[in-house]
């Protein structure tokens, strides 16, 4: 089956900052591709590149960027506007910045459908109420009439999710969609998305720092570090056999319920992600890595641990 979304060697720079450096990944219909990695690694910038929603001073380049085989790099602004929020939808990381404080939930939700599908106001309102109910919001009628600031963090996030689903997208890019939700509602949302994947072949690019979610829903996981995809593997393989020292560090940081000792500090990777320029050479993790040596300052090979599992590190496959 052809991929829904193909990203090959994506580069994004903001002046002297290289936010994404040669990242490649693909999403097939019905698949969940999870993108993980520390804050500032370039996950959101990757997502925004696909939607062509980067700020003006950003420069985007790629060998290929395609949605259902259509080249997004060549698509006009109006062509892009036709896809966005329609066949290709996104849930943004910060609900408060992407919901307009001046309009009610109802008018923002129905606007999307009226724009893309020319639905009547009545039909659009019904659809909005139905979707709010499906993301677990009761009294959807009351919520449609409220403004974003009158909702709790979790309600706002669910409004965003419902809004992204208004036009039955084929591809959904979800950037930390459940951070403000409690675990029971989170489970409900994840089951809803899984249902859409099964029934409608929805492909999901899911950005999350919750490795519990990743383990439970991802088909494949890509780990980003300082703008690069440093490891990519099918989910079970990544958890059983993480090969990049950064991936190994991330997995050690997860507090596992029942195995928690309150008197002991949690495992953390000391230090922070470096800001790197476009001509940075070598492994960006080397300052924080226990295995670093001189060779890490030079170009690093991409090794294959198996056909579907690759990683970017000097350590042998």
């Amino acid at each position: 089956m052809t991929a829904l979304l193909e990203i090959e060697k994506l580069e994004v720079t903001f002046g002297r900052t290289a936010a994404v450096r040669g990242a490649s990944l693909a999403v097939a219909p019905g698949e969940t591709h999870c993108l993980v990695g520390e804050s500032g690694c370039g996950k959101s910038v990757t997502a925004l590149s696909v939607m062509n929603l980067l700020v003006r001073n950003a420069r985007r380049r790629a060998e290929r960027l395609a949605f259902q085989g259509e080249d997004l790099l060549k698509l006009s602004d109006s062509g892009m506007a036709r896809l966005r929020g329609n066949a290709m939808a996104m849930i943004f990381q910060e609900p408060m910045t992407s919901l307009n404080p001046a309009y009610t939930v109802g008018s923002q939700m129905t606007e999307v459908l009226r724009r893309h599908k020319r639905a009547s106001q009545r039909a659009a309102t019904d659809r909005a109420a139905d979707l709010l109910a499906r993301v677990g919001i009761t009294a959807p009628g009351m919520r449609l009439g409220q403004f974003p600031h009158q909702l709790s963090g979790g309600l706002r996030q669910r409004v965003m999710i419902a809004m992204a689903l208004m036009c039955d997208p084929q591809l959904l890019i979800a950037d930390e969609p459940t951070t403000a939700l409690d675990v029971t509602v989170q489970a409900q949302i994840l089951r809803l998305l899984a249902g859409l994947q099964r029934d409608l072949g929805l492909g999901l690019l899911l950005i999350t720092h919750d490795l519990g979610i990743v383990a439970r829903v991802a088909t494949r996981v890509s780990v980003m570090y300082a703008g690069e995809v440093v490891e990519s593997a099918p989910t079970a393989e990544l958890f059983a056999n993480p090969r990049h020292p950064y991936t190994q560090g991330l997995l050690r940081c997860v507090p596992v319920p029942g195995k928690i000792r309150r008197d002991q500090p949690l495992g953390a990777i000391p230090g922070t992600v470096p800001r790197v320029g476009p001509d940075f050479e070598g492994c960006a993790f080397r300052e924080r890595c226990d295995f670093a040596d001189e060779t890490c300052k030079h170009a690093i090979p991409r090794h294959h641990a198996s056909t579907a599992h690759d990683f970017l590190c000097r350590l042998p496959a």
Binding site: G40, A139, D210, P255, I269
Partner: protein, 308 residues
């Protein structure tokens, strides 16, 4: 000494013609040096409770005291010296146009009784205390990572040396590695400075790690409260059980559990009679729909369920 004492607090909001009951007759006390974890469904009133305790919102009724003094008797400045917040979104809560050192100095300046040299010195010490180097003082929030921003928010909260810190999802915007750094920092500061925390989080593993006691909130009420070990080892309320069963541990292949709560969430403007959890409770009996469960005391806590 009791650091936080909440008695029968109630808070409602108007939503059009309807009234949302966000906090419904909640009582709770946190001893000095304790960490009270608050967990519960999104929209159940956790942040509202936090804002009542911080004095940022007036309660409709009930009494709140911090450090032995009634909140109503304290002015803004005195309150700021006793209790401070750390919120989820460090970006939204930091002034984007102010430099880090000025953000952290704000609470000191607002007190209006510290000299310039004093302020500079205290801010320097505080930044170092939360692990931010000197050079960070001159940066803008947009020039910091999420973890660094949250360190700034913590420095700002602690610069007046308050006794109590209310943390509302302090790490949910952070990745696991930075989350671990921030949680370790909060634990260290509590030990060294003798702080009391009210700690709201959706991440139960995090709560298990930081809290000494946990209160579970459902639709505006605290339905169960226990020391952390007891709550995680032997939850009694069916909602607490569902919550714990919904935690996604990093074990591939297990999928997302369906804990049988149904997909219809409660309406805070229309609270069910009897036990407010009964329409979704997997073990409800007919009497649950009519009888309001009294608080059943336990040695170090209590639970509101007829069948517990």
């Amino acid at each position: 000494m009791i650091a936080i004492e909440v008695r029968n607090a109630r808070k409602t909001f108007k939503a059009g013609k309807r009234t949302v009951v966000a906090v419904d007759d909640v009582s709770l006390s946190v001893p000095e040096g304790g960490v009270m974890g608050i967990v519960g469904e999104s929209g159940c009133g956790k942040s509202t409770l936090a804002r009542l305790v911080l004095g940022l919102l007036p309660a409709d009724s009930g009494d709140i005291a911090i450090d032995g003094q009634r909140l109503a008797d304290l002015d803004r400045k005195a309150r700021a010296r006793l209790i401070q917040p750390v919120f989820q979104d460090p970006f939204a809560s930091l002034n984007p146009l102010a430099r880090v050192r000025d953000i952290v100095a704000m609470p000191l300046v607002a007190q209006g009784r510290f000299g310039k040299a004093d302020i500079t010195k205290t801010v320097q010490e505080m930044l170092a205390r939360v692990g931010l180097g000197k050079e960070m003082g001159g940066r803008l929030p947009s020039e910091l990572s999420g973890g660094q921003r949250q360190r700034v928010a913590i420095a700002r909260a602690l610069v007046l040396r308050p006794r109590i810190v209310v943390c509302d999802e302090p790490t949910s915007a952070l990745d696991v590695s930075v989350q671990a750094q921030i949680l370790n920092l909060l634990a260290e500061l509590r030990r060294d400075l003798g702080l009391t925390y009210l700690f709201i989080s959706h991440n139960l593993a995090v709560v298990e790690h930081v809290a000494s006691e946990v209160a579970v909130m459902y639709l505006g009420r605290l339905v169960e409260r226990e020391p952390t070990e007891t709550l995680f080892a032997a939850p009694e309320h069916p909602y607490t059980k569902a919550l714990l069963a919904s935690v996604l541990t990093p074990e591939p292949g297990l999928g997302v559990p369906d804990v049988g709560l149904g997909d219809t969430l409660p309406d805070p403007a229309n609270i069910p009679p009897g036990c407010r959890f009964h329409p979704r409770c997997p073990i409800a009996e007919p009497r649950c729909a009519t009888t309001t469960p009294p608080l059943k005391p336990r040695p170090n806590g209590g639970v509101e369920c007829l069948l517990a």
